[in-house]
């Protein structure tokens, strides 16, 4: 019976349902977007996991009287390698942005890192062609380099770059010994394949105008030792830099964990915010149902009078109008679930995020939408039930 009443005004019913559907759909979509963004960040850094610590020069604190950052030096690296018990690998990286030129004259500006063979292990590099330069290259400052695929494509197109010669900066001619397989982009869109690697010694000889290293890449002995490694690294570097107990660190530690945690925090706040906005639109949907049911009650006063006069009890009339509100709410919630899951899926697909519609969120928002619809349907239903049958009958 409820269904027939709603079918009598299809346009009105559709609009009511749409209001709630958008609320439910928005709720699902918003929460799923936030979750999708979080998972994509986590996925990106999870591969590095608890196996990496990165030291950068410079303090996080920008307080008055902090002396200028001490560069990360060979002395630091030597001290860490000699004394640390929790660190498996310490790999320095010196960095400059330089133009790289082929013999044919093609030019590409990119990030050039001077480092050691272990960098490939610590960064988990996989090679599309050739391999990493080796200890001999490092020991004898050989003029060799490894290219990221973006650089390889920019300079050589589809040609095989292995064995080709390039000029890095003004002064370093080098032979290509490896091309690193594609790593894609970060969540924020920067290209992970736009780089050139050369031995640290070669870098120092031909490109060396940097003061110290731009970072030290450090691998703890095991995941279990991660916190201990973080602590030992800090202690040793402070000693190496001669910092007093009151002085803040003049270097900064970073790990993928930090980024994952930050991303999770951000997405939690973002998710809560979006959910709150969506919840408001859900409420608006509920108010829509209330409005339509109020109109319906006043339009159908005569009908209600008839039902009451022939013996329909107030409780039964209340139930009838609640049933209509429930039906509206259920149809709206169902449409909202389709809308929300659909748009989440499309966005996840377009952004290449992992699928992240959680059935708990779907159940929650559908349930919430239904409850809102029925709660707001209660006011008109009660009004219908309280109508005086004599007065109601007189209304045409």
């Amino acid at each position: 019976m409820a269904a027939r009443v709603l079918r009598r005004h299809p346009g009105r019913t559709l609009l009511t349902v749409l209001g709630l559907a958008i609320g439910v759909g928005a709720f699902i979509a918003m929460v799923s977007f936030a979750e999708g963004a979080r998972r994509s960040v986590v996925r990106q850094f999870e591969t590095l996991g608890t196996n990496l610590l990165r030291v950068r020069p410079g303090s996080r604190a920008r307080a008055e009287g902090v002396r200028p950052a001490m560069p990360l030096s060979d002395a630091d690296v030597r001290l860490l390698r000699r004394e640390a018990t929790t660190l498996a690998l310490v790999v320095p990286v010196a960095r400059r942005t330089l133009a790289v030129t082929t013999e044919a004259g093609r030019v590409h500006r990119t990030r050039v890192d001077g480092t050691e063979p272990d960098y490939a292990r610590i960064a988990g590099l996989r090679f599309a062609a050739g391999g990493m330069f080796d200890a001999t290259d490092l020991g004898t400052s050989n003029r060799v380099c490894v290219l990221g695929v973006t650089v390889a494509r920019a300079l050589f197109g589809e040609r095989d770059p292995l064995g080709e010669r390039v000029r890095i900066g003004p002064a370093l001619p080098a032979r290509v010994v490896g091309v690193v397989a594609a790593q894609g982009r970060t969540t924020t869109g920067s290209d992970l394949d736009d780089f050139v690697l050369v031995p640290r010694t070669t870098f120092a000889l031909f490109l060396g105008a940097t003061e110290g290293y731009s970072s030290l890449e450090v691998r703890p002995r095991s995941a279990a030792l991660f916190e201990a490694a973080r602590h030992e690294l800090t202690t040793l570097l402070r000693r190496s830099h001669g910092l007093g107990p009151a002085e803040p660190d003049d270097f900064t530690l970073w790990s993928p964990e930090d980024t994952i945690r930050a991303a999770e925090e951000t997405s939690r706040i973002l998710g809560a915010l979006l959910a709150a906005i969506a919840a408001i639109s859900l409420l608006v949907g509920g108010i829509g149902i209330m409005n339509i049911q109020l109109v319906s009650v006043s339009e159908r006063t005569h009908e209600i009078g008839i039902r009451a006069a022939i013996g329909g009890s107030p409780a039964q009339i209340l139930r009838q109008f609640l049933a209509e509100a429930l039906l509206l709410a259920l149809v709206g919630a169902t449409a909202g679930v389709l809308l929300g899951v659909g748009s989440s899926w499309i966005v996840a697909h377009a952004m290449q995020w992992p699928p992240s519609v959680s059935w708990r969120v779907v159940a929650l928002s559908a349930g919430f939408g239904t409850v809102v619809g029925v709660l707001f349907g209660y006011v008109p239903a009660r009004r219908a039930a309280r109508l005086d049958p004599i007065v109601a009958l007189r209304r045409e």
């Binding site: 005569h302 039902r307 006069a309 022939i310 009890s313 039964q316 049958p389 009958l393």
Partner: protein
């Protein structure tokens, strides 16, 4: 979904008590400061199986009295005993139950649901009484047959004539097998020939099924058909005559 009888209501026990018993019934409407008396002390006993006509000038309180008899309204003072049970001060929930099970109502303007078919209109009380769909269907046929409208089963009211609509309304009033039928100017909206046939139907129900009927009318001819004729004026019973 069958509604149980409200606890305070005792079903009528024997057929020996009067169908309707009114003692000092008063109804006043409050119009702000003013209170307007509409029924000024009605004493009335109607035995089971009586056919009572109620006549009187416009505004004399006939409809008001009928609404109270039908448990659609409550008296301001006085007692109303229906089938041995005092129903003067029932809750709305209880009033609805009494209306559903013991009283059939027929109105001048039919009051049918415009979107429901004749059959659906007829069995609406059965729906509220919690009767199952299959049984409702069966009863709809039976009731429409009783009022001579078996062939209009699936018609909506707008496709029925006035007389046919009133027959559907009468069938609906009979759905829960009430013992008391109240009719407020049932022929008032019909031409005299159709009105006569509706009156004939009511008389037939009265004769064959011993239904107690109270009928409000302005038509002296219609009133003549009743076995007992009451005349009201200014909220009082002026004349009460048995044939």
């Amino acid at each position: 979904m069958r509604e149980p009888a409200p606890r305070s209501y005792r079903a009528p026990s024997t057929a020996l008590v009067p169908a309707v018993e009114l003692r000092g019934l008063v109804k006043t409407y409050d119009e702000g400061e003013l209170s307007v008396p509409v029924l000024r002390g009605i004493d009335l006993c109607i035995e089971p199986g009586e056919f009572v006509s109620l006549r009187g000038p416009s505004g004399s309180g006939k409809s008001t009295l009928l609404n109270i008899l039908g448990c659609l309204d409550r008296p301001t003072a006085g007692r109303y005993v229906l089938g041995g049970t005092d129903v003067s001060a029932l809750t709305r929930e209880e009033q609805a139950w009494v209306r559903l099970h013991h009283i059939g109502f027929v109105f001048q303007s039919f009051h049918l649901l415009p979107d429901a078919t004749a059959a659906e209109n007829v069995v609406l009380p059965l729906f509220y009484a919690g009767v199952r769909r299959a049984e409702r269907e069966r009863r709809a046929r039976e009731l429409l047959e009783r009022v001579g409208l078996a062939h209009r089963f699936d018609h909506v009211p707008s496709r029925l004539s006035g007389g046919e609509r009133q027959r559907v309304a009468i069938a609906r009033a009979l759905a829960c097998r009430p013992r008391l039928l109240l009719a407020d100017e049932p022929t008032g909206a019909l031409d005299s020939r159709t009105g006569a046939s509706i009156l004939e139907l009511l008389l037939d129900l009265h004769r064959r099924e011993r239904l107690t009927i109270v009928l409000v009318t302005h038509d002296p001819g219609v009133a003549e058909a009743a076995s007992r004729r009451i005349f009201m004026r200014d909220g009082r019973i002026e004349d009460d005559a048995r044939a």
